[in-house]
Amino acid sequence: MVEKKEVFVQGNIACAEGALYAGCSFFAGYPITPSTEVAEHMSEELPKRGGAFIQMEDEIASSIAIQGAAWAGKKVMTVTSGPGLSLMMEHVGLAAFTETPCVFVDVQRGGPSTGLPTLPGQADMMQVKWGSHGDYEPIALAPNSPQECFDLMIKAFNLAEIYRVPVFFMMDEVVGHMTERVQIPPAEEIQVVERRWSSKPPGQYRPYEVGEDLVPDMVKAGDGYRIHITGLTHDERGYPAMNPTAHDRLVRRIHEKIRRHADALVDIREDGIEGAEVAVVSFGITSRVAAAAVELARQRGLKVGHLRLIITWPFPGRRIAEVARHVKGIVVPELNMGQVVLEVERAVAGRVPVHSVPHAGGTVHEPEVILEKILEAAR
Protein backbone atom coordinates (compact mmCIF):
# COMPACT_ATOMS: atom_id res chain seq x y z
CA MET A 1 0.00 0.00 0.00
CA VAL A 2 1.26 3.43 -0.87
CA GLU A 3 1.60 5.60 2.16
CA LYS A 4 -0.39 8.80 2.54
CA LYS A 5 1.68 11.66 1.24
CA GLU A 6 1.87 15.20 2.63
CA VAL A 7 3.28 17.94 0.48
CA PHE A 8 3.58 21.73 0.75
CA VAL A 9 2.57 22.96 -2.69
CA GLN A 10 0.73 25.77 -4.42
CA GLY A 11 -2.83 25.36 -5.67
CA ASN A 12 -1.78 25.21 -9.32
CA ILE A 13 0.46 22.21 -8.63
CA ALA A 14 -2.19 20.56 -6.46
CA CYS A 15 -4.69 21.02 -9.29
CA ALA A 16 -2.36 19.34 -11.79
CA GLU A 17 -1.69 16.49 -9.34
CA GLY A 18 -5.43 16.05 -8.83
CA ALA A 19 -5.86 15.76 -12.59
CA LEU A 20 -3.14 13.10 -12.77
CA TYR A 21 -4.70 11.10 -9.93
CA ALA A 22 -8.07 11.42 -11.70
CA GLY A 23 -6.57 9.71 -14.73
CA CYS A 24 -5.98 12.66 -17.04
CA SER A 25 -3.69 11.47 -19.82
CA PHE A 26 -4.00 14.26 -22.36
CA PHE A 27 -3.39 17.97 -21.88
CA ALA A 28 -3.47 20.70 -24.49
CA GLY A 29 -3.06 24.32 -23.55
CA TYR A 30 -1.45 27.66 -24.09
CA PRO A 31 0.36 29.17 -21.08
CA ILE A 32 -1.15 32.20 -19.39
CA THR A 33 -0.58 33.86 -16.02
CA PRO A 34 -1.70 33.01 -13.35
CA SER A 35 -2.33 29.45 -14.52
CA THR A 36 1.03 28.59 -16.09
CA GLU A 37 2.27 26.33 -13.29
CA VAL A 38 -0.57 23.90 -13.99
CA ALA A 39 0.60 23.49 -17.59
CA GLU A 40 4.24 23.40 -16.50
CA HIS A 41 3.59 20.59 -14.05
CA MET A 42 1.55 18.60 -16.57
CA SER A 43 4.34 19.00 -19.14
CA GLU A 44 6.79 17.48 -16.66
CA GLU A 45 4.59 14.70 -15.34
CA LEU A 46 2.37 13.50 -18.22
CA PRO A 47 5.14 12.14 -20.46
CA LYS A 48 6.57 10.17 -17.50
CA ARG A 49 3.22 8.41 -17.13
CA GLY A 50 2.63 7.64 -20.77
CA GLY A 51 0.35 10.62 -21.30
CA ALA A 52 0.63 13.43 -23.81
CA PHE A 53 1.18 17.14 -23.31
CA ILE A 54 0.80 19.54 -26.21
CA GLN A 55 1.41 23.25 -26.12
CA MET A 56 -0.90 24.43 -28.89
CA GLU A 57 -0.67 27.60 -30.96
CA ASP A 58 -3.47 29.22 -28.98
CA GLU A 59 -6.43 28.58 -26.70
CA ILE A 60 -8.85 27.98 -29.56
CA ALA A 61 -6.77 25.08 -30.77
CA SER A 62 -6.25 23.80 -27.21
CA SER A 63 -9.97 23.66 -26.51
CA ILE A 64 -10.60 21.53 -29.61
CA ALA A 65 -7.50 19.32 -29.31
CA ILE A 66 -8.69 18.04 -25.93
CA GLN A 67 -12.02 17.06 -27.48
CA GLY A 68 -10.34 15.05 -30.19
CA ALA A 69 -8.33 13.25 -27.54
CA ALA A 70 -11.48 12.61 -25.49
CA TRP A 71 -13.02 10.81 -28.49
CA ALA A 72 -9.78 8.87 -28.79
CA GLY A 73 -10.58 7.58 -25.30
CA LYS A 74 -8.50 9.84 -23.08
CA LYS A 75 -9.42 11.83 -20.01
CA VAL A 76 -8.56 15.38 -20.95
CA MET A 77 -8.13 18.89 -19.67
CA THR A 78 -6.89 22.33 -20.51
CA VAL A 79 -6.02 25.28 -18.30
CA THR A 80 -6.25 28.99 -18.90
CA SER A 81 -7.24 32.35 -17.44
CA GLY A 82 -9.88 34.88 -18.52
CA PRO A 83 -8.45 36.04 -21.87
CA GLY A 84 -7.82 32.44 -22.93
CA LEU A 85 -11.19 31.31 -21.68
CA SER A 86 -12.87 33.87 -23.95
CA LEU A 87 -11.11 32.27 -26.92
CA MET A 88 -12.20 28.79 -25.84
CA MET A 89 -15.86 29.66 -25.59
CA GLU A 90 -16.91 28.49 -29.05
CA HIS A 91 -15.65 24.98 -28.36
CA VAL A 92 -17.24 24.86 -24.93
CA GLY A 93 -20.53 24.76 -26.84
CA LEU A 94 -19.20 22.00 -29.05
CA ALA A 95 -18.26 19.93 -25.98
CA ALA A 96 -21.71 20.55 -24.50
CA PHE A 97 -23.51 19.58 -27.72
CA THR A 98 -21.37 16.57 -28.62
CA GLU A 99 -21.37 15.57 -24.92
CA THR A 100 -17.60 15.32 -24.75
CA PRO A 101 -16.23 14.84 -21.22
CA CYS A 102 -13.55 17.46 -20.60
CA VAL A 103 -12.27 19.71 -17.83
CA PHE A 104 -11.52 23.41 -18.32
CA VAL A 105 -9.46 24.94 -15.51
CA ASP A 106 -9.82 28.71 -15.21
CA VAL A 107 -7.39 30.37 -12.81
CA GLN A 108 -9.28 33.64 -12.68
CA ARG A 109 -7.53 37.00 -12.74
CA GLY A 110 -8.84 40.55 -12.78
CA GLY A 111 -10.67 41.43 -16.02
CA PRO A 112 -12.13 42.36 -18.46
CA SER A 113 -9.59 42.04 -21.27
CA THR A 114 -5.93 41.74 -20.23
CA GLY A 115 -6.90 43.19 -16.85
CA LEU A 116 -4.69 42.15 -13.95
CA PRO A 117 -2.58 39.17 -15.05
CA THR A 118 -0.99 38.53 -11.65
CA LEU A 119 -3.93 39.38 -9.39
CA PRO A 120 -7.16 37.61 -8.50
CA GLY A 121 -10.74 37.93 -9.71
CA GLN A 122 -13.91 35.82 -9.73
CA ALA A 123 -15.53 37.57 -12.63
CA ASP A 124 -15.71 34.65 -15.08
CA MET A 125 -18.52 32.93 -13.20
CA MET A 126 -21.31 33.98 -15.56
CA GLN A 127 -19.07 33.54 -18.58
CA VAL A 128 -18.71 29.83 -17.87
CA LYS A 129 -22.44 29.57 -17.22
CA TRP A 130 -23.54 31.30 -20.41
CA GLY A 131 -20.44 32.07 -22.49
CA SER A 132 -20.91 29.83 -25.51
CA HIS A 133 -23.86 30.46 -27.79
CA GLY A 134 -26.95 28.31 -27.47
CA ASP A 135 -28.44 26.57 -24.45
CA TYR A 136 -26.56 24.07 -22.31
CA GLU A 137 -25.94 23.23 -18.65
CA PRO A 138 -22.28 23.23 -17.63
CA ILE A 139 -20.92 22.13 -14.26
CA ALA A 140 -18.55 24.39 -12.30
CA LEU A 141 -16.65 23.87 -9.05
CA ALA A 142 -14.83 26.47 -6.93
CA PRO A 143 -11.95 25.32 -4.67
CA ASN A 144 -10.66 27.59 -1.89
CA SER A 145 -7.33 25.94 -0.98
CA PRO A 146 -4.56 23.83 -2.48
CA GLN A 147 -6.08 20.80 -0.72
CA GLU A 148 -9.38 21.42 -2.47
CA CYS A 149 -7.57 22.01 -5.77
CA PHE A 150 -6.43 18.41 -5.44
CA ASP A 151 -9.62 16.85 -4.05
CA LEU A 152 -12.11 18.73 -6.20
CA MET A 153 -10.11 18.30 -9.40
CA ILE A 154 -10.73 14.57 -9.03
CA LYS A 155 -14.40 15.32 -8.52
CA ALA A 156 -14.39 17.59 -11.60
CA PHE A 157 -13.03 14.77 -13.76
CA ASN A 158 -15.53 12.33 -12.29
CA LEU A 159 -18.46 14.64 -12.98
CA ALA A 160 -17.27 15.18 -16.57
CA GLU A 161 -17.37 11.40 -17.06
CA ILE A 162 -20.67 10.82 -15.27
CA TYR A 163 -22.62 13.54 -17.07
CA ARG A 164 -20.53 13.98 -20.21
CA VAL A 165 -20.38 17.75 -20.01
CA PRO A 166 -17.63 20.36 -20.01
CA VAL A 167 -16.71 20.90 -16.34
CA PHE A 168 -15.20 24.21 -15.27
CA PHE A 169 -12.72 24.33 -12.41
CA MET A 170 -12.98 27.90 -11.15
CA MET A 171 -9.78 28.75 -9.34
CA ASP A 172 -8.36 32.25 -8.93
CA GLU A 173 -4.89 33.74 -8.68
CA VAL A 174 -4.76 33.55 -4.87
CA VAL A 175 -5.81 29.92 -4.65
CA GLY A 176 -3.54 29.05 -7.59
CA HIS A 177 -0.42 30.63 -6.12
CA MET A 178 -1.16 29.97 -2.46
CA THR A 179 1.00 27.27 -0.89
CA GLU A 180 -0.37 25.04 1.86
CA ARG A 181 -0.20 21.48 3.07
CA VAL A 182 -1.90 19.02 0.75
CA GLN A 183 -2.62 15.48 1.87
CA ILE A 184 -2.61 12.99 -0.96
CA PRO A 185 -4.36 9.79 0.03
CA PRO A 186 -3.13 6.40 -1.20
CA ALA A 187 -4.18 5.98 -4.83
CA GLU A 188 -6.52 3.08 -4.02
CA GLU A 189 -8.52 5.29 -1.67
CA ILE A 190 -9.19 7.83 -4.39
CA GLN A 191 -12.50 7.27 -6.10
CA VAL A 192 -12.04 7.61 -9.84
CA VAL A 193 -14.97 7.30 -12.24
CA GLU A 194 -14.14 5.62 -15.52
CA ARG A 195 -15.73 6.44 -18.84
CA ARG A 196 -19.17 5.08 -19.61
CA TRP A 197 -18.10 2.66 -22.32
CA SER A 198 -20.83 1.11 -24.39
CA SER A 199 -21.13 -2.66 -24.28
CA LYS A 200 -22.91 -2.71 -27.63
CA PRO A 201 -21.03 -4.04 -30.65
CA PRO A 202 -20.43 -2.03 -33.81
CA GLY A 203 -23.59 -1.96 -35.88
CA GLN A 204 -25.87 -1.88 -32.84
CA TYR A 205 -24.24 1.04 -31.03
CA ARG A 206 -25.89 4.43 -31.46
CA PRO A 207 -23.81 7.33 -30.08
CA TYR A 208 -26.69 9.34 -28.63
CA GLU A 209 -29.03 6.65 -27.46
CA VAL A 210 -29.78 7.09 -23.76
CA GLY A 211 -31.27 5.20 -20.88
CA GLU A 212 -33.02 6.52 -17.82
CA ASP A 213 -30.21 8.82 -16.69
CA LEU A 214 -30.27 10.56 -20.10
CA VAL A 215 -26.49 10.29 -20.55
CA PRO A 216 -25.30 8.30 -23.58
CA ASP A 217 -22.49 5.73 -23.45
CA MET A 218 -19.30 6.29 -25.41
CA VAL A 219 -16.97 4.39 -27.68
CA LYS A 220 -13.55 5.43 -28.84
CA ALA A 221 -11.78 5.83 -32.13
CA GLY A 222 -9.89 2.72 -33.14
CA ASP A 223 -12.30 0.21 -31.64
CA GLY A 224 -14.02 -0.50 -34.94
CA TYR A 225 -17.08 1.68 -34.58
CA ARG A 226 -18.06 3.95 -37.46
CA ILE A 227 -19.66 6.93 -35.82
CA HIS A 228 -20.35 10.52 -36.68
CA ILE A 229 -19.82 13.36 -34.19
CA THR A 230 -21.06 16.79 -35.17
CA GLY A 231 -21.81 20.20 -33.76
CA LEU A 232 -24.93 20.28 -35.93
CA THR A 233 -28.14 19.23 -34.26
CA HIS A 234 -28.06 15.43 -34.46
CA ASP A 235 -30.18 12.37 -33.93
CA GLU A 236 -29.42 9.28 -31.85
CA ARG A 237 -27.15 7.97 -34.61
CA GLY A 238 -25.11 11.16 -34.39
CA TYR A 239 -26.10 12.28 -37.89
CA PRO A 240 -27.30 15.82 -38.63
CA ALA A 241 -31.04 16.16 -38.10
CA MET A 242 -31.85 19.77 -38.68
CA ASN A 243 -35.47 20.07 -37.75
CA PRO A 244 -37.31 21.54 -34.77
CA THR A 245 -38.37 18.15 -33.38
CA ALA A 246 -34.85 16.69 -33.24
CA HIS A 247 -33.50 19.99 -31.92
CA ASP A 248 -36.10 20.16 -29.17
CA ARG A 249 -35.38 16.58 -28.13
CA LEU A 250 -31.61 17.05 -28.03
CA VAL A 251 -31.45 20.47 -26.38
CA ARG A 252 -34.05 19.42 -23.83
CA ARG A 253 -32.13 16.25 -23.03
CA ILE A 254 -28.75 17.94 -22.48
CA HIS A 255 -30.50 20.20 -19.96
CA GLU A 256 -32.55 17.45 -18.37
CA LYS A 257 -29.52 15.19 -17.82
CA ILE A 258 -28.21 17.84 -15.42
CA ARG A 259 -31.49 19.17 -14.02
CA ARG A 260 -32.80 15.70 -13.24
CA HIS A 261 -29.67 15.12 -11.16
CA ALA A 262 -29.68 18.56 -9.54
CA ASP A 263 -29.90 17.12 -6.02
CA ALA A 264 -26.91 14.86 -6.58
CA LEU A 265 -25.04 17.89 -7.84
CA VAL A 266 -25.53 19.95 -4.68
CA ASP A 267 -22.23 20.35 -2.85
CA ILE A 268 -22.37 23.02 -0.16
CA ARG A 269 -20.23 23.19 2.96
CA GLU A 270 -22.59 24.60 5.59
CA ASP A 271 -21.60 26.11 8.89
CA GLY A 272 -24.04 27.24 11.56
CA ILE A 273 -27.11 27.59 9.32
CA GLU A 274 -29.44 26.13 11.98
CA GLY A 275 -30.97 29.07 13.84
CA ALA A 276 -28.99 31.68 11.90
CA GLU A 277 -30.41 35.20 11.49
CA VAL A 278 -28.19 35.96 8.54
CA ALA A 279 -26.67 33.64 5.95
CA VAL A 280 -23.54 34.33 3.95
CA VAL A 281 -23.25 32.61 0.56
CA SER A 282 -19.74 32.46 -0.88
CA PHE A 283 -17.39 30.42 -3.04
CA GLY A 284 -13.69 30.06 -3.88
CA ILE A 285 -11.14 32.33 -2.25
CA THR A 286 -13.84 34.72 -1.04
CA SER A 287 -15.23 31.97 1.19
CA ARG A 288 -12.09 32.13 3.34
CA VAL A 289 -12.48 35.86 3.86
CA ALA A 290 -16.22 35.43 4.38
CA ALA A 291 -15.50 32.83 7.08
CA ALA A 292 -13.32 35.39 8.87
CA ALA A 293 -16.17 37.94 8.64
CA VAL A 294 -18.69 35.39 9.96
CA GLU A 295 -16.38 34.75 12.90
CA LEU A 296 -16.17 38.50 13.65
CA ALA A 297 -19.97 38.74 13.54
CA ARG A 298 -20.34 35.78 15.90
CA GLN A 299 -17.93 37.42 18.32
CA ARG A 300 -20.45 40.26 18.44
CA GLY A 301 -23.17 37.80 19.41
CA LEU A 302 -24.87 37.51 16.02
CA LYS A 303 -26.13 34.19 14.74
CA VAL A 304 -24.62 33.94 11.29
CA GLY A 305 -24.54 30.91 9.02
CA HIS A 306 -22.20 30.32 6.12
CA LEU A 307 -22.93 28.39 2.94
CA ARG A 308 -19.85 27.74 0.88
CA LEU A 309 -20.71 26.63 -2.63
CA ILE A 310 -18.38 23.92 -3.89
CA ILE A 311 -20.47 23.34 -7.02
CA THR A 312 -21.68 26.70 -8.28
CA TRP A 313 -23.23 25.44 -11.54
CA PRO A 314 -25.81 24.00 -11.56
CA PHE A 315 -26.80 26.52 -8.91
CA PRO A 316 -28.23 24.92 -5.73
CA GLY A 317 -31.32 27.14 -5.85
CA ARG A 318 -33.57 24.85 -3.85
CA ARG A 319 -31.29 24.84 -0.80
CA ILE A 320 -30.79 28.59 -0.98
CA ALA A 321 -34.59 29.06 -1.12
CA GLU A 322 -34.99 26.84 1.96
CA VAL A 323 -32.42 28.85 3.89
CA ALA A 324 -34.13 32.09 2.85
CA ARG A 325 -37.24 30.98 4.76
CA HIS A 326 -35.41 31.09 8.07
CA VAL A 327 -33.10 34.11 7.89
CA LYS A 328 -33.53 37.88 7.84
CA GLY A 329 -31.13 38.40 4.99
CA ILE A 330 -28.50 36.84 2.78
CA VAL A 331 -25.06 38.35 2.12
CA VAL A 332 -23.15 37.44 -1.05
CA PRO A 333 -19.53 38.62 -1.33
CA GLU A 334 -17.67 37.83 -4.55
CA LEU A 335 -14.70 39.22 -6.50
CA ASN A 336 -16.86 40.62 -9.28
CA MET A 337 -19.51 43.29 -9.60
CA GLY A 338 -22.32 40.90 -8.62
CA GLN A 339 -22.70 37.67 -10.63
CA VAL A 340 -23.55 34.67 -8.47
CA VAL A 341 -25.70 37.02 -6.36
CA LEU A 342 -28.10 37.15 -9.34
CA GLU A 343 -28.75 33.42 -8.95
CA VAL A 344 -29.16 33.84 -5.19
CA GLU A 345 -31.74 36.59 -5.80
CA ARG A 346 -33.56 34.37 -8.29
CA ALA A 347 -33.74 31.52 -5.76
CA VAL A 348 -34.72 33.78 -2.85
CA ALA A 349 -37.42 35.38 -5.04
CA GLY A 350 -37.88 38.42 -2.83
CA ARG A 351 -38.55 36.52 0.42
CA VAL A 352 -35.74 38.36 2.20
CA PRO A 353 -33.26 41.06 1.20
CA VAL A 354 -30.16 39.82 -0.61
CA HIS A 355 -27.09 41.96 -0.01
CA SER A 356 -24.43 41.93 -2.69
CA VAL A 357 -20.84 42.70 -1.62
CA PRO A 358 -19.13 43.31 -4.95
CA HIS A 359 -15.39 43.78 -5.42
CA ALA A 360 -13.65 44.56 -8.70
CA GLY A 361 -10.77 42.16 -7.91
CA GLY A 362 -7.01 42.58 -7.68
CA THR A 363 -7.09 41.48 -4.05
CA VAL A 364 -9.64 39.93 -1.71
CA HIS A 365 -12.30 41.68 0.39
CA GLU A 366 -11.47 43.12 3.76
CA PRO A 367 -13.32 40.90 6.25
CA GLU A 368 -14.64 44.12 7.86
CA VAL A 369 -16.46 45.08 4.64
CA ILE A 370 -18.33 41.78 4.65
CA LEU A 371 -18.93 42.13 8.39
CA GLU A 372 -20.58 45.49 7.80
CA LYS A 373 -23.03 43.92 5.34
CA ILE A 374 -23.77 41.11 7.78
CA LEU A 375 -24.58 43.69 10.46
CA GLU A 376 -26.78 45.57 7.98
CA ALA A 377 -28.60 42.36 7.05
CA ALA A 378 -29.21 41.54 10.73
CA ARG A 379 -30.84 44.89 11.49
Binding site: E6, V7, F8, Q10, T118, V174, H177, M178, T179, E180, R181, I285, R288, V289, A291, A292, E295, T363, V364, P367
Partner: protein
Protein backbone atom coordinates in the same frame (compact mmCIF):
# COMPACT_ATOMS: atom_id res chain seq x y z
CA UNK B 1 -0.10 29.33 18.84
CA UNK B 2 -2.23 32.30 17.76
CA UNK B 3 -2.01 33.25 14.10
CA UNK B 4 1.47 34.63 13.47
CA UNK B 5 2.17 36.60 10.34
CA UNK B 6 5.54 36.79 8.67
CA UNK B 7 6.73 38.74 5.67
CA UNK B 8 9.98 38.04 3.86
CA UNK B 9 11.17 40.81 1.53
CA UNK B 10 14.12 41.22 -0.78
CA UNK B 11 15.16 41.12 -4.40
CA UNK B 12 14.35 38.49 -7.01
CA UNK B 13 17.29 36.06 -7.04
CA UNK B 14 17.95 36.27 -3.29
CA UNK B 15 15.77 33.27 -2.58
CA UNK B 16 13.06 35.24 -0.83
CA UNK B 17 10.22 32.91 -1.86
CA UNK B 18 12.20 29.80 -0.94
CA UNK B 19 12.94 31.33 2.46
CA UNK B 20 9.20 31.77 3.06
CA UNK B 21 8.46 28.37 1.56
CA UNK B 22 10.83 26.60 3.94
CA UNK B 23 9.39 28.36 6.98
CA UNK B 24 5.87 27.38 5.89
CA UNK B 25 6.85 23.83 5.03
CA UNK B 26 8.62 23.37 8.37
CA UNK B 27 5.46 24.41 10.20
CA UNK B 28 2.92 22.62 7.98
CA UNK B 29 4.70 19.36 7.24
CA UNK B 30 7.16 18.76 10.10
CA UNK B 31 5.67 20.70 13.04
CA UNK B 32 2.09 19.68 12.13
CA UNK B 33 0.74 23.23 12.28
CA UNK B 34 -1.09 25.18 9.62
CA UNK B 35 0.80 27.43 7.23
CA UNK B 36 -0.24 29.52 4.25
CA UNK B 37 2.33 31.03 1.90
CA UNK B 38 1.45 33.78 -0.55
CA UNK B 39 4.08 34.99 -2.94
CA UNK B 40 4.12 38.19 -4.92
CA UNK B 41 6.60 39.36 -7.47
CA UNK B 42 7.01 42.13 -9.99
CA UNK B 43 6.71 41.58 -13.74
CA UNK B 44 10.48 41.07 -13.98
CA UNK B 45 12.13 38.28 -12.07
CA UNK B 46 15.77 38.77 -11.09
CA UNK B 47 16.58 42.00 -9.31
CA UNK B 48 13.00 43.22 -8.83
CA UNK B 49 11.17 43.60 -5.55
CA UNK B 50 9.88 40.33 -4.30
CA UNK B 51 8.14 39.21 -1.16
CA UNK B 52 6.62 36.20 0.52
CA UNK B 53 3.83 36.24 3.08
CA UNK B 54 3.59 33.37 5.53
CA UNK B 55 0.88 32.84 8.13
CA UNK B 56 1.38 30.21 10.83
CA UNK B 57 -1.31 28.96 13.22
CA UNK B 58 -2.62 25.96 15.12
CA UNK B 59 -5.98 26.32 13.36
CA UNK B 60 -6.66 26.43 9.61
CA UNK B 61 -5.92 29.87 8.18
CA UNK B 62 -8.74 31.92 6.63
CA UNK B 63 -7.72 35.34 5.40
CA UNK B 64 -4.61 34.56 3.38
CA UNK B 65 -2.71 37.85 3.17
CA UNK B 66 -0.24 39.33 5.64
CA UNK B 67 -0.89 43.00 6.31
CA UNK B 68 0.73 43.77 9.66
CA UNK B 69 3.47 41.18 10.09
CA UNK B 70 4.53 40.03 13.54
CA UNK B 71 7.90 39.18 12.03
CA UNK B 72 9.55 40.92 9.09
CA UNK B 73 12.60 39.45 7.39
CA UNK B 74 14.33 41.84 4.98
CA UNK B 75 17.27 41.25 2.70
CA UNK B 76 17.30 44.54 0.77
CA UNK B 77 17.05 48.27 1.60
CA UNK B 78 13.95 48.59 -0.62
CA UNK B 79 12.17 45.79 1.17
CA UNK B 80 13.05 47.46 4.46
CA UNK B 81 11.66 50.87 3.41
CA UNK B 82 8.56 49.31 1.93
CA UNK B 83 7.64 46.91 4.72
CA UNK B 84 9.21 48.23 7.97
CA UNK B 85 6.33 50.69 8.53
CA UNK B 86 3.85 47.77 8.32
CA UNK B 87 5.41 45.86 11.24
CA UNK B 88 3.11 45.32 14.18
CA UNK B 89 4.12 47.36 17.22
CA UNK B 90 6.10 44.99 19.39
CA UNK B 91 6.99 42.89 16.37
CA UNK B 92 10.35 41.49 15.33
CA UNK B 93 12.58 42.72 12.51
CA UNK B 94 15.24 40.40 11.14
CA UNK B 95 17.54 42.14 8.68
CA UNK B 96 20.61 41.59 6.56
CA UNK B 97 22.86 43.93 8.54
CA UNK B 98 25.35 44.72 5.79
CA UNK B 99 22.68 45.56 3.23
CA UNK B 100 20.05 47.26 5.36
CA UNK B 101 20.50 50.15 7.78
CA UNK B 102 17.78 50.94 10.26
CA UNK B 103 16.14 54.36 10.48
CA UNK B 104 13.10 56.08 11.96
CA UNK B 105 10.75 54.04 9.75
CA UNK B 106 10.75 51.31 12.37
CA UNK B 107 7.54 51.31 14.44
CA UNK B 108 7.84 51.64 18.20
CA UNK B 109 8.63 48.69 20.36
CA UNK B 110 10.04 46.61 17.52
CA UNK B 111 12.92 44.34 18.41
CA UNK B 112 15.50 44.29 15.62
CA UNK B 113 18.09 41.59 15.07
CA UNK B 114 20.70 41.95 12.36
CA UNK B 115 22.85 39.32 10.68
CA UNK B 116 25.52 39.69 7.97
CA UNK B 117 23.88 36.81 6.11
CA UNK B 118 25.49 37.49 2.73
CA UNK B 119 29.00 37.53 4.22
CA UNK B 120 28.30 34.39 6.26
CA UNK B 121 27.01 32.69 3.11
CA UNK B 122 30.12 33.74 1.21
CA UNK B 123 32.30 32.32 4.00
CA UNK B 124 30.46 29.03 3.59
CA UNK B 125 31.44 29.07 -0.05
CA UNK B 126 28.31 30.30 -1.84
CA UNK B 127 26.63 33.63 -1.59
CA UNK B 128 23.42 31.98 -2.87
CA UNK B 129 22.69 30.34 0.48
CA UNK B 130 22.07 33.64 2.23
CA UNK B 131 18.35 32.88 2.27
CA UNK B 132 18.99 29.65 4.15
CA UNK B 133 21.19 31.54 6.63
CA UNK B 134 18.15 33.80 7.12
CA UNK B 135 15.89 30.77 7.73
CA UNK B 136 18.27 29.59 10.45
CA UNK B 137 18.43 33.08 11.90
CA UNK B 138 14.61 33.26 11.92
CA UNK B 139 14.40 29.99 13.84
CA UNK B 140 17.18 30.99 16.27
CA UNK B 141 15.61 34.34 17.11
CA UNK B 142 11.87 33.53 17.10
CA UNK B 143 11.54 29.76 17.72
CA UNK B 144 8.25 29.96 15.76
CA UNK B 145 9.11 26.67 14.13
CA UNK B 146 11.29 24.00 15.68
CA UNK B 147 14.92 23.81 14.59
CA UNK B 148 14.47 20.15 13.73
CA UNK B 149 11.45 20.83 11.50
CA UNK B 150 13.20 23.73 9.80
CA UNK B 151 16.35 21.75 9.10
CA UNK B 152 14.30 18.93 7.58
CA UNK B 153 12.40 21.44 5.48
CA UNK B 154 15.70 22.93 4.26
CA UNK B 155 17.11 19.54 3.29
CA UNK B 156 13.91 18.60 1.44
CA UNK B 157 13.55 21.92 -0.39
CA UNK B 158 16.99 22.64 -1.83
CA UNK B 159 18.45 21.22 -5.06
CA UNK B 160 19.93 17.72 -4.83
CA UNK B 161 23.65 17.79 -4.11
CA UNK B 162 23.46 21.04 -2.14
CA UNK B 163 21.90 19.61 1.02
CA UNK B 164 25.04 19.69 3.13
CA UNK B 165 26.00 23.22 2.15
CA UNK B 166 22.48 24.39 2.91
CA UNK B 167 22.44 22.51 6.19
CA UNK B 168 25.64 24.33 7.19
CA UNK B 169 24.07 27.62 6.14
CA UNK B 170 21.00 26.87 8.21
CA UNK B 171 23.05 25.98 11.29
CA UNK B 172 25.21 29.08 10.86
CA UNK B 173 22.15 31.33 10.90
CA UNK B 174 20.55 29.38 13.73
CA UNK B 175 23.62 29.65 15.93
CA UNK B 176 23.99 33.35 15.16
CA UNK B 177 20.36 33.90 16.18
CA UNK B 178 20.58 31.82 19.33
CA UNK B 179 23.70 33.69 20.43
CA UNK B 180 22.13 37.05 19.72
CA UNK B 181 19.06 36.26 21.81
CA UNK B 182 21.08 34.73 24.61
CA UNK B 183 20.01 31.13 24.06
CA UNK B 184 23.11 29.91 22.30
CA UNK B 185 26.43 28.49 23.39
CA UNK B 186 27.99 31.86 22.76
CA UNK B 187 26.67 33.07 26.13
CA UNK B 188 23.65 35.15 27.08
CA UNK B 189 23.28 38.43 25.30
CA UNK B 190 23.04 40.58 28.42
CA UNK B 191 26.50 39.40 29.41
CA UNK B 192 27.94 40.71 26.19
Amino acid sequence: MPKTEIRVGGLGGQGVILCGHIIGKAAAIYDNKHATLIQSFGPEARGSACSAQVSLADEPIGYPYVKRPDVLIVMSPDAYSQFAPTLKPGGILLYESELVSLDEKLPEGVTAYGIPATRLAEELGRRLVLNIVMVGFFVGTTALVSAEAAERAVVHSVPKGTEQLNQRAFRKGLEFGLNLTGQGNGGPRHDA
